[in-house]
C-alpha cells in the first residue's frame, strides 16, 4: 500500500520538476548596474547575404566598448518571422529588440501595444540621419529604425540584348510598348525574355509593387480599397493583372517559374537562363559577379500606368528594427540600434552585403560599380514607396502572393484574381473589425 503511494508521489514530483526546469531555464533578467542582457531577434540575411556576419562583428565590437552588455542574436526564419513575434507578443515576453517588415507589419504590432517608440529613446538629431523613416511613423512618433535600403529594378543581360537586337532604354526607363517589343524580339531570337521564380509567391508580389503601383495616386488610394471604401475589382487596382497574364500567355516568362523560389529565380538570371529579371541590389551584385560586370545592366520598371505613383521609387528599408514593450532595458537596446548606424558600421555593412545603408552618413563613394551606383541614385532620389508594406499581412498573404501564383500557373483569369483580392480584403475586414478601425483612423 505504501509502495503504491510512494510511486505516485515520485511521479507527481517528477512531472513538477519538469515544469520547474522549464520555467527556471529562461534567461536571467538584469540586476541593477551589473550585466545587461539583450536578446535581438534578427532578420536580414535573406535580403542581404552577409548581414549575419556583419551583425556578429557589430556585436563583438559593441561588447568590447560596453563590457557589461551582452547581446544574444537569434536569427529568424522568413516563414515564421511574423508568427514567431506574434507568439512573443501574446506571451508579453521575448526579445528586447526585434525585426519586422516595415509599415504594415510594424504598425500591426504597434497597435497591439508591443513596441515602444524609438523616438522616445533616440534624439531627433540622430534619427534625422536615418533614411525612409516615413515608413514607420504613426501618431507623430517614429516606431522603428531602418538599417538598409533595398530597391528593386530590372536587371538585364547585355549580351542577350545584343544578340536579339534589343537596345536598352536611354533614359533608364522603357515605355510599356518598348518593353513588349523587346520581349518579342528576344523570344524570336530564341532567348527567354524574363526569368523568375514564384513558388513562394514573392515574385508576384514584386509585380504588384512595381507594376500595380503605377495606376495609383497615393498609398492612401490603396487604403481606400483596403478599408472597403472602394473595391479591389475596380480596374484601377487590379486591371494590370491582365497585362501580366498577356505576358505569360505570350510565353515571355520561363516555364518553370512555379518550380523555383524567388531566390532561385534570381540565381537563374545570374546563370544566363533569361534576358531580364527583377533584382535587388544584392541580386544584381551577384549577377555582375557571375555574368561579368560588363554584361549586366539595370533599368527601372517599364512605365505602364499613369497614376501619380508611377514615377515613385520603390526603395524600402524592408526590415525595421524596434524595441519591445516588455524589454527591461529599452535605453540599452536603443543604444545598440544607434551603434549600428555609426559610420564605421555603415561602411562595414556595405562591405559585407553590398546593400546600401539607410543613413545620410553612409559614404556613397564606397559604391564603385556604375550599375550599383545607378541603383543607389534611384533609391535615394525622390519619394520611395514599397507598396506591399501598405497591405495588412493577411491580405498580402491571401491576395497579393496568391494572385501572382494564379497568373503564373495559369490557374485563374485576371478577373478571378481581382475577385480574389476583394474577397481577401473583405474577409480580413470581417474577421478583424478592431484592426479595421485602426486602418480607418490611420492618416497616411
Amino acid at each position: 500500500m505504501k509502495a503504491s503511494l510512494r510511486v505516485i508521489t515520485i511521479l507527481v514530483i517528477l512531472s513538477m520538476t519538469l515544469v520547474a526546469c522549464g520555467t527556471t531555464s529562461q534567461p536571467a533578467t538584469t540586476a541593477a548596474n551589473a550585466k545587461v542582457n539583450l536578446t535581438f531577434w534578427w532578420w536580414a540575411e535573406s535580403d542581404a547575404p552577409g548581414a549575419d556576419a556583419w551583425m556578429a562583428e557589430t556585436v563583438a565590437a559593441y561588447e568590447k566598448i560596453h563590457p557589461n552588455v551582452s547581446i544574444n542574436i537569434v536569427p529568424q526564419s522568413t516563414e515564421t518571422l511574423i508568427s514567431a513575434f506574434q507568439s512573443a507578443v501574446t506571451a508579453k515576453s521575448g526579445p528586447d529588440i526585434a525585426s519586422q517588415w516595415a509599415t504594415g507589419p510594424v504598425l500591426g504590432f504597434v497597435w497591439q501595444n508591443a513596441l515602444v517608440p524609438i523616438s522616445d529613446y533616440v534624439p531627433a538629431s540622430e534619427t534625422a540621419n536615418w533614411l525612409n523613416t516615413n515608413e514607420n511613423m504613426y501618431n507623430g512618433k517614429l516606431w522603428a529604425a531602418p538599417m538598409y535600403l533595398i530597391g528593386i529594378d530590372v536587371m538585364y543581360n547585355k549580351t542577350m540584348f545584343a544578340t536579339a537586337g534589343v537596345t536598352p532604354p536611354v533614359s533608364g526607363r522603357w515605355t510599356w510598348d518598348e518593353f513588349m517589343a523587346a520581349c518579342a524580339k528576344l523570344k524570336a531570337a530564341g532567348i527567354n525574355p524574363w526569368v523568375e521564380g514564384d513558388k513562394d509567391g514573392y515574385g508576384g508580389a514584386w509585380w504588384f509593387a512595381n507594376l500595380g503601383i503605377q495606376s495609383l495616386d497615393s498609398t492612401d488610394d490603396l487604403r481606400q480599397a483596403i478599408i472597403g471604401a472602394k473595391s479591389f475589382t475596380d480596374p484601377h487596382y487590379t486591371g494590370w493583372y491582365q497585362t501580366l497574364d498577356d505576358m505569360v500567355k505570350k510565353g515571355y516568362f520561363n516555364q518553370d517559374s512555379m518550380s523555383m523560389d524567388l531566390s532561385q529565380g534570381a540565381q537563374a538570371f545570374a546563370q544566363g537562363k533569361g534576358a531580364m529579371s527583377f533584382g535587388t541590389d544584392g541580386m544584381v551584385k551577384q549577377a555582375l559577379t557571375d555574368l561579368g560586370a560588363a554584361n549586366v545592366g539595370v533599368m527601372q520598371t517599364p512605365k505602364l500606368g499613369t497614376g501619380k505613383l508611377a514615377d515613385a521609387g520603390n526603395a524600402t528599408q524592408s526590415t525595421a528594427f524596434f524595441v519591445t514593450k516588455w524589454s527591461k532595458n529599452p535605453q540599452a537596446a536603443a543604444d545598440f540600434l544607434v551603434f549600428m548606424h555609426t559610420p564605421d558600421r555603415l561602411a562595414a555593412w556595405y562591405k559585407h552585403t553590398g546593400v546600401i545603408a539607410a543613413d545620410k552618413r553612409f559614404d556613397r563613394t564606397l559604391v564603385i560599380d556604375p550599375v550599383l551606383k545607378q541603383m543607389m541614385t534611384w533609391e535615394t532620389t525622390g519619394p520611395q514607396i514599397w507598396l506591399e508594406n501598405y497591405l495588412p499581412g493577411q491580405v498580402d498573404s491571401d491576395a497579393d502572393l496568391t494572385a501572382g501564383q494564379m497568373i503564373f500557373s495559369q490557374s485563374g483569369s485576371p478577373s478571378d484574381v481581382a475577385a480574389m483580392w476583394e474577397r481577401a480584403a473583405s474577409t480580413w475586414r470581417n474577421q478583424h473589425p478592431d484592426e479595421l478601425t485602426n486602418w480607418k483612423n490611420w492618416q497616411q
Binding site: A3, S4, V7, G22, S46, S87, A91
Partner: protein, 282 residues
C-alpha cells in the same frame, strides 16, 4: 490428384517470375527517392546540375561537413534526442501504470476509459495546438523543450495504453494468481512480474513511439520557434530557407536528420513492424 512433380516445379518457377518482377518494380519505386537523397548529398552542385540521375562524380563529403558546421543541425539533433528520450520515459512509465490498472483491475469506468484511449489515438493535432500554445504561454513554457516533452508524452499515451493493455491481458492469469497467493501487493506484481515479462512489448512500443516523436513536425514547429530550441524537423525548414539554392547541401541535411531512424530500422526492423501491426486490428 497429384500432378507431375517436375511440371508443377517448372510451373511455380515460371509463375514466380512475374511476382519477382512486380516486387522488384515496387521495391525500386520505394528505394529510388532514398537513393536520390543519398546520392545528391554526396555530389557537388555543378555535378548535380549536370546529372541528377547518376552516382556522384566527384564524390564529396563537403556537403555533410557543411551541413554539420553551417546552420545548427548538431544543436537541433541534440534537442531532438532530448525531447525523444524524455517523452519516451514519461509516456512509458505513465502508460504502463495506466495499462496495468485497465488490464488487471475491475472498476467502474474501466470500459469508458479504455474506449476513450482508442478514440484519442487519432485526434487531429491541429485541434489541439492553439489552446495548448496559449496555455504554454501562460505558464511560461513556450519556446522551451519541456513544453513539447509534455505534449508528446500526452500524445503518446493513448496508443501506448492500448498496446500495453492488449499485451498485459495476454499474460497468463495463473502467474498473477500465484503472486497474489504469495502475498504480493499489486504494485509488487507490477514491478516484479508484469514489467519484466513485458520487455519485448515495451521495446516495441518504445521504438514505434520514438519514430513518432523524432519525425514530428507540426507541434515542434508551433512550440519551438527560437532557433536554439528547435528540433530537427522544423530546423530543416530553417536550413532549407537559408540555403535554398544549394540542393545537395539540403539533401545532406535531410540525410543527417533521418539517419538515426534509418539505422534503427536497419538493426531493428522487426520491432517497427511488430509494433505497428500490434497496434492494429488483428
Amino acid at each position: 490428384m497429384k500432378t507431375n512433380p517436375s511440371r508443377s516445379r517448372l510451373w511455380s518457377l515460371l509463375a514466380a517470375i512475374p511476382k519477382q518482377v512486380i516486387l522488384l518494380f515496387f521495391s525500386l519505386v520505394a528505394i529510388y527517392p532514398i537513393y536520390y537523397m543519398i546520392v545528391t548529398a554526396f555530389k557537388t552542385r555543378p555535378d548535380w546540375l549536370h546529372d541528377q540521375f547518376g552516382l556522384p562524380n566527384p564524390f564529396t563529403f563537403q556537403n555533410i561537413t557543411d551541413a554539420l558546421n553551417k546552420g545548427n543541425i548538431p544543436l537541433w539533433f541534440g534537442n531532438s534526442l532530448i525531447v525523444t528520450i524524455a517523452s519516451l520515459i514519461v509516456s512509458t512509465i505513465v502508460s504502463s501504470l495506466a495499462a496495468y490498472a485497465l488490464a488487471r483491475f475491475h472498476f467502474a469506468g474501466r470500459a469508458f476509459y479504455f474506449n476513450s484511449m482508442i478514440a484519442l489515438m487519432v485526434i487531429p493535432p491541429a485541434v489541439l495546438i492553439l489552446p495548448l500554445f496559449v496555455l504554454m504561454v501562460n505558464i511560461g513554457l513556450v519556446n522551451t523543450l519541456p513544453s513539447v516533452i509534455i505534449i508528446y508524452s500526452g500524445l503518446l499515451i493513448p496508443f501506448s495504453v492500448y498496446l500495453l493493455v492488449s499485451f498485459f491481458r495476454s499474460l497468463p492469469p495463473e502467474l498473477f494468481d500465484a503472486a497474489a497467493i504469495d502475498g504480493c501487493s499489486n504494485l509488487d506484481t507490477f514491478w516484479r512480474i508484469t514489467l519484466p515479462l513485458s520487455t519485448p512489448a515495451m521495446v516495441t512500443l518504445i521504438v514505434v513511439n520514438a519514430l513518432f516523436v523524432w519525425n514530428e513536425l507540426f507541434i515542434a514547429l508551433v512550440f519551438l520557434q527560437g532557433e536554439t530550441v528547435m528540433t530537427l524537423m522544423p530546423g530543416l525548414t530553417l536550413f532549407k530557407g537559408h540555403f535554398t539554392i544549394n540542393e545537395p547541401l539540403i539533401m545532406a541535411g535531410t540525410l543527417i536528420a533521418t539517419m538515426p531512424m534509418i539505422l534503427l530500422y536497419l538493426f531493428g526492423q522487426r520491432l517497427f513492424v511488430e509494433g505497428l501491426v500490434a497496434g492494429a486490428v488483428k
